[in-house]
Amino acid sequence: MNADDLLLISVGGAAATIARRVAENASAPLRALILDTDDATLQAITPAVGVSTTVFGAKRLAGRGTGGDRNLGASALRDDASQIQAQIGAPRLAVLLVCCGGGTSGAAPLLLEMLRALGVATLVFATTPFAFEGDDRHRCAKIILPTLAAQADAITTVPLDLLAGGDAALPQAEAFARVADRLGAGLGLLWSLIAHAGFLPLDAERFRRFLTHDVAGGRPFCFAEAVCAGERRADDALARLLAAPRFRPDGVDCLANAAQIVVGVLAGPDLRLCELGVLMTGLRAHCVALQEAYLGTANEASREGTLAVVVLAFGQALAEGGGRVEEGVHEARGGGRSRKGAKAKAAARANPLGAARNRFNDVEPTLHGDQNLDTPTYLRRGIRLAR
């Protein structure tokens, strides 16, 4: 894989800190673009190889930030669109990191629009403010999130409270550091998987194809990771993933409801096939609405003895069908595939393109035999296109 095919972009001061953590955690070369309107924040970021920082909207804001005005953030990006576009280059997949609430995060929807115009697939990680933060920041996040969702190929919204672990006794400064560490670790792991050529690669091109053509396009997703060691590391990782609070943002088990899951496994050369079997069998049994599971593995000599697993759960097909699996109900169902799962599967077959940009997603599909003619012909015929 070409290192330029993958790009991490962060918008705003808080996202810049997390992006820096991702760079520290990623074991593969990282090309990152850290964008902010506040010059002082960026100067505090420790330089790293492949990580470039850019202050935008300097003419309008003189590097002093937006003062919480999201419209100013958007205008500032528009001012320097040409320069930022040149810095973006021509990646195939971009991971956008934005902490919604601040004024600079108002530039994120415009940035996504720019990426889309350039033909870049986008995976967005957006955080929402802590519950104790001011109303203005919550209001700003509420406005920005739907516009991000409309432009992104896939988006996950992670409440900062959830990332911090809901520990009320935690000092404020430590809470921000913990958030940055946890998100940075998860994203760093994902980055290593996408960037590494493994036995079962989950490279940028495969990810891009999944995001732009499969059911996940435009859908929300949840993600969680687990790093374990020891003889029973696969069982432990599976147990931690199934119990991860990040898969249960509103008491609903998003993993059990997921229509597609992307599983990435990063380990040393001692990774055994039976461990992959444990993980995949366990996840398939848990995800009652599952239509498609993607597995990618990468090996690093330095990870000998450990097993790192990251799971992205997309779609939540049952939730749309009105049959959400509430927390705790899953066990009562016995973990088997339900009739509702089959129904969701049939619905997805009728229109496997998802909601992203397919202009026919809101009309009756044109079916011919077992083919949905609304799906591009070249795709159904398995033709690979030259770039």
Binding site: R359, P376, Y378
Partner: protein, 401 residues
Amino acid sequence: MGIVLGALDIGTQTTTLVTGECVDGRLSLLARAETPTQGVKKGIIRDITAVADGIRRVREEMDKKLRVEIYDVVAGFSCGDVTTLVRPGRVSLLPGHLINEEDVADAEDNARAPEDPDAPNRLLQRFRQKYEVNGQPVATPLGMTGAELVANILELTAPRTCLDSLTSAVARAGLRLDEIVFSGIAAAEAVLDDRARDDGAIVIDFGAGTVDYVAICNGVVAAAGALGVGGNHLTNDLALAFHITQGQAEDTKLARGAAMLQPDLANARHTLRTPFSAGDRTISVHAIQTVTTERVDETFRILRDRLRESDVLPHVHGGIRLTGGTAALPLIAEQASSIFGLPCAIGVPGRNLATPLADPFIEEPYRHATAIGLLNWRCRTLAREPRKPSWLARLRAYIAG
């Protein structure tokens, strides 16, 4: 002085109103007004108000152009759910009885299915196909004798809700709907002359939302139908393939799309317009044409298979005519020709016209085939209808006893 007629073609992309003057069964085209359609997908009306607004706009434009207000129109209809069925209607005959028009009318009536107001589909149009006397096909049974007369009638049906939506939209725009005609039939009406009809020909109307097809053999409609795939699918395929907006994909299709790969452009690249100034993105023209070629190839193959199933292809000797907006795609006629194994040409409206095509119909005439065909259809229907005597003639006849 002829009768001024109006025809409305509500396509997925464009709503067109054309007017013409019918003099002694011949048509003179007068004017054309068009506007982009809102609220229609794959030929199906999804927003009656938006469609009615579009009709109002073209009507106002026409009023300005023609200074004659149009009240009655004939409208075209198509959607992927149009279905066809051949129904035989039988009449038993007495020995030695000469078949007359009444027997033929009875046989045709017997072929009619009873109208079910609760059925999801309703009748769109009926066409006489062939007659059989004692099982022998005949061109016309009049004056013959036999034990049984069979009239085979091809019925086109369409979803009731779709047809009702069309009627409502036209009524909301303040127009009266004289008749609804299947768009494929209208296109054939415009581009096929009598000789092509006798030789056997296929008309493929490749629109934005649907592809309509009609096969006419020995002067009768042998097969007809529609597929819910159109030019918009080509655009959508490009948008998904290159991860671009529908607007960019439409521009790309118009600029570089083709129905067959063009080897001389194998290494060419298409520059994509983006809303941002720096670093324009380029796409391989070969990749663009691969996407469009595959879609056109698949669509024609589906139509060919359907016509094969109807056993129509062996009777087509006059070739294929392509109409509709997608007929502008480079090499589409060559692609159709290679798949069907028949000569293919772009269809130009010309049947029954009193004068040759002129402005505003001369530019891209294949795009106007349906609308002109609708006018032609109405004109020929009026010419066939017995004319009612005027009130003055009736008064004179009354006085004369």
